[in-house]
């Protein structure tokens, strides 16, 4: 394989902690790989396990939940 594997990651971010932290990372200009696509939820408690399965079905290489 000539090209490096670049995973597509789907993230569920809690509005109060992880989403806020991701904002803070931006304010501090921390650089990280651009592979993550996020969905904001008001709490990771909102994340139904079905969402995770669906994410994989839709082709995610990895699912990230931050809360």
């Amino acid at each position: 394989m000539s090209e490096q594997f670049s995973p597509k990651i789907l993230g569920f971010l809690c509005n109060w902690c992880c989403y806020a932290a991701a904002d803070a990372a931006g304010v501090s200009r921390y650089q990280y790989p651009p592979n993550l696509r996020t969905i904001r939820v008001m709490c990771t408690g909102r994340v139904d396990p079905a969402f995770i399965f669906r994410g994989f079905i839709e082709g995610a290489d990895g699912i990230f939940t931050g809360g």
Partner: protein, 949 residues
């Protein structure tokens, strides 16, 4: 922006303050409104006039670094968003010619017939906040300003580095346009300088220089930056961390006095002398003068008109115990006019001033208040009509993400009927455009791709309401904080990510519905935790505004740390003040004091808290239940006791607080004293600076000298942080013979016993040799630690900083509110601070806490859970899982059904994700919407697969 939107704030710009008559509650202020020559109601801020105006005009807003036209607007987000004509350079107003602008203006807004108007305004209280002035050019010229183009002030440099500034954020030398590779910052220009009669410290320059240096480094990591300073005064909350970050990034800090800046070949040569009196030279491309904050230009005029007194530096005169009260009753001061200060302090003071004014006006409360009304919500119709607005945020987004491409990518998405981009979508004019477009294209759902919904969603929701849409019909896509800022070097990938996120948001809004607004009544009482000066001030401030509070103190008596002080640096007797304060609290009918109190439990939410307060012990122990709408945290702090320098092991080693009491009690001073600053602070046990210790040391040193002028007082310090007007006391101490010697953090002083004698050995950085003294006493400046914050943090689910102080909701914009609604913080629980700042902050917390109490109701964000009782099977799983007890089981037609208590619900969605019958919907986060987002994420994958195939 928010102020501009409020129907209860009338903004009079271009106005002069001419007179003030009357008394508190009944003032008449005389104002003159200068003509703008443009009808503000008609001006659409389109900017056509500026394009056609033929005359050039120095752009004062940009510090003269750019040219504009006599007809102009200072900046895009200006409020009101109306252009104006500078009469000093307009050809018509000067020479009665031209008038090109008149036919150019499509909305016929130009009106040269406008005349100055005088206005009598009936007001109950006056708040003075004229800001600060500029340091005179003569002072700047000592450092080559005006003589060499590459010597600039920090304010000019700030404009230079600003994305929306005249150079779009590009830093360059004025002499030849090259990018500077070596930049010097010279601190204390026009501050701590008796040469220009500014004996005070401007308090903010060290921190802003560090910020500017960091920004310059970000623009060009190869740039070498040196900051020449006397003391680095990063005394604010978390400020030392910024300095540490700057040092880690390679920014150099040199303790030196700069004598001269002279041209040297193509560059500039700095002559400076360091502590050990060595003269050195260094070459730079650009020199930035960190200019101080001067009193406002017309301070004396304002003082005369308002009838208030000024201090010796022409700032407003105030007292330690009433930091915002001027010498005239009913006239309140806030911001830099009260003394140089930064943004959080100014915002805090502004809230406090508003609270004090409200206290004066309780009788008139509610009169003349305009309640904002919104147009009726329009029917959404069945057709999905989505508008997508992509923001450049100046160059914050636009420089990384290809905004036009992102915008174009939405063109063929299902339901999108309109899409556009804007430079700043949060600016007032862009909000108007948003409203117009909603109407024009009959939009019923909006996607804003810009910054974080956490900061800006309320603003856009407000605009939606103004446009007659339900405020939930919007979805924000964060392509700044979580995209352009974090993928700054990968523009293509960032653009792809933005497109994906926008696609997912569009998928989500398709399924959005209008959600009804809900309000919950507020119990108009406050629980104030902590009976020190902060808590007492807050309770009194609330009582002045007519609200009841329960003031709980864990000790036997009110007073807190103030009881441990004798005098203030300004010489006030703190015991007298404390007694007066306690008397006022005890006499107030609206304050219930409970001492030896403990918070047994606290539950509820903004407007409807219920607490159980336990007091007394043994047989006298009792518990009371108190219902309240808000909580003010004033739990305070205490002196830190580090296990350093023989503290607690040798009784000749004491803390500053102990010394103060000893001096007050014995009225005798020791013959020789060595004080050690930052004992346990700034990197030892405590990582932070406690802000008050330098002042405390100077105060005690002066007291020793007063009691015993022959006493030898040596202060070993890292940076003397006698910021603001305390600098005068520091100077007085030096003149009085107190010896201040800086020590290097790598070579801290040593305290040891030799026989019966106590010795201090330290390296004298001025003499460059090691000294050994045997003083009568060693006094440690030990710093402050918070008390009881960890337990409360758990109880309230309110976050703390690493140092265990309460973390405010927003450091600059919401400095006294916590992220938990209805909870406010002040005093040492927020961070170490001196008395005057504690008092102002307590007044601010009370003022903020009074807002829901005055309103009498809070509105609940409509994102809470809703149970579809039709399909609910009554299993009760949701009620058992809800962490906020926000779901109750009720009987409906004799069947068990779940029901949400809206005001308790935090919208976490645990109930919805566990409901076996999918009967719970989370407003704006429904299963359908999240599934649509996931599918849209997948859609992106499909496209890629197709491309590969």
């Amino acid at each position: 922006m928010e102020a501009g939107r409020s129907p209860n704030i009338k903004m009079l710009t271009n106005a002069d303050f001419l007179g003030l008559e009357g008394k508190p509650g009944d003032f008449t202020a005389k104002l003159r409104l200068r003509p703008r020559y443009i009808d503000a109601d008609n001006c659409t801020a389109c900017g056509l006039c500026t394009q056609y105006c033929p005359r050039h005009h120095v752009d004062k807003y940009n510090e003269g670094l750019a040219m504009t036209r006599p007809i102009h607007i200072d900046y895009a987000q200006a409020v009101p968003a109306t252009y104006y004509i500078d009469p000093g350079s307009c050809l018509y107003l000067q020479h009665e010619t031209c008038q090109i602008c008149v036919p150019v203006c499509q909305s016929h807004a130009i009106d040269f017939s406008q005349q100055p108007e005088e206005l009598d305004l009936k007001v109950g209280a006056v708040i003075l906040s004229p800001g600060f002035g500029k340091i005179g050019e003569k002072t700047l010229e000592q450092f080559g300003y005006n003589k060499h183009p590459d010597v600039v002030t920090s304010i000019e440099f700030e404009r230079m580095t600003t994305a929306s500034g005249p150079f779009q954020g590009e830093i360059k030398c004025f002499s030849d346009g090259r990018h500077p590779k070596r930049i010097a910052f010279i601190q204390c220009v026009g501050s701590r300088d008796l040469g220009c009669d500014n004996g005070y410290c401007s308090s903010v320059c060290c921190m802003y220089s560090i910020k500017e240096a960091l920004v310059a480094k970000e623009h060009d990591p190869s740039v070498e930056i040196t900051i020449y300073y006397m003391d680095i005064r990063t005394q604010g909350k978390e400020f030392d961390k910024a300095r540490q970050r700057a040092e880690n990034m390679g920014i150099k800090f040199v303790r030196a006095k700069v004598a001269d800046v002279t041209p040297w070949k193509n560059n500039l040569r700095l002559t400076y002398s360091t502590l050990e009196a060595r003269h050195s030279f260094a070459e730079f491309d650009l020199v930035v003068l960190s200019v101080g904050l001067e009193s406002p230009k017309d301070a004396q005029g304002i003082a005369k008109i308002a009838g208030i007194e000024l201090n010796r530096y022409d700032f407003c005169k105030t007292e330690t115990f009433s930091p915002l009260t001027t010498s005239r009753e009913g006239v309140i001061v806030a911001g830099a006019f009260q003394g140089p200060k930064d943004i959080p302090e100014s915002v805090t003071q502004a809230s406090a001033a508003a609270g004090l004014a409200a206290g004066l006006l309780t009788k008139q409360r509610g009169q003349g208040v305009v309640h904002k009304s919104y147009p009726e919500e329009q029917e959404m119709g069945d057709e999905v009509r989505i508008g997508v607005f992509v923001c450049h945020c100046g160059i914050n987004i636009g420089a990384v993400v290809n905004v036009p491409q992102v915008e174009q990518s939405t063109a063929d998405m299902e339901g999108v009927v309109y899409h556009t981009d804007s430079l700043y979508s949060c600016s007032q004019d862009a909000q108007e455009v948003l409203k117009q477009k909603i109407k024009e294209h009959n939009l019923n759902r909006v996607v804003i791709a810009a910054c974080s919904p956490r900061t800006h969603e309320p603003l856009f929701q407000e605009t939606l309401k103004d446009a007659g849409l339900n405020r939930n019909l919007i979805e924000m896509v964060n392509i700044r904080d979580q995209c352009s800022w974090v993928h700054a070097t990968e523009p293509d990938a960032a653009t792809d990510k933005s497109k994906d996120l926008v696609r997912m948001a569009v998928a989500k809004v398709r399924g959005m519905k209008s959600l009804p607004e809900q309000t919950v009544p507020v119990t108009p009482k406050a629980l104030v935790i902590g009976g020190g000066i902060a808590g007492m001030t807050a309770a009194l401030s609330l009582s002045d505004q007519g609200f009841e509070s329960l003031l709980m103190e864990k000790g036997k008596a009110l007073g807190g740390n103030l009881g441990l002080l004798n005098t203030t640096l300004a010489g006030d007797e703190s015991a007298d003040y404390l007694k007066g304060l306690v008397d006022r609290v005890r006499k107030s009918k609206l304050i219930h004091v409970v001492t030896e109190a403990e918070l047994a439990s606290l539950s509820g939410f903004i407007g409807n808290f219920s607490s159980v307060v336990a007091s007394g012990s043994g047989a006298k122990k009792k518990e009371i239940t108190f219902d309240h709408g808000v909580v003010v945290l004033a739990t305070g702090g205490r002196e830190h006791r580090p296990d350093l320098y023989l503290l607690g092991k040798n009784n000749k080693v004491v803390t500053q607080q102990e010394l103060e009491l000893q001096l007050a009690k014995t009225k005798k001073a020791p013959e020789s004293v060595v004080m050690i600053q930052c004992a346990g602070s700034r990197g030892d046990d405590l990582s932070y600076c406690s802000k008050v210790c330098c002042n405390h040391a100077v105060k005690n040193a002066l007291k020793i000298k007063e009691l015993n002028p022959d006493a030898q007082v040596v202060v070993l310090y890292r940076d003397m942080r006698t910021y603001g007007f305390a600098e005068d006391a520091y100077r007085e101490a030096r003149l009085g013979g107190v010896v201040f010697i800086p020590y290097d953090v790598a070579r801290k002083p040593e305290v040891y016993e030799k026989g019966k004698k106590l010795h201090v050995r330290f390296f004298d950085t001025i003499l460059q040799e090691e000294l050994d003294l045997a003083p009568d006493q060693v006094v440690l400046s030990v710093g402050i630690v918070p008390e009881g914050t960890q337990e409360l943090s758990k109880l309230l689910k309110a976050p703390l900083t690493d140092e265990k102080f309460f973390l405010e909701a927003h450091v600059k914009l919401r400095p006294v509110e916590l992220s938990v609604d209805g909870v406010y913080v002040c005093g040492l629980a927020h961070g170490p601070k001196p008395l005057d700042e504690t008092i102002a902050q307590a007044q601010a917390a009370a003022a903020k806490a009074a807002i829901p109490l005055v309103k009498g109701a809070v509105s609940v964000a409509p994102i809470v859970s809703v149970v579809d009782q039709e399909s609910c099977i009554g299993c009760g799983l949701c009620a058992s899982l809800c962490p906020y007890q926000a779901i109750e089981m009720v009987k409906v037609d004799n069947k068990r059904k779940a029901q949400t208590i809206a005001a308790s619900c935090k919208a976490c969605g645990i109930c919805a994700s566990h409901c076996p019958s999918f009967s719970i919907a989370m407003g704006s986060f429904t299963n359908e919407q999240i599934n649509a987002q996931i599918a849209a994420f997948g859609g992106v994958r499909e496209k890629e697969k197709a491309e590969v195939a």
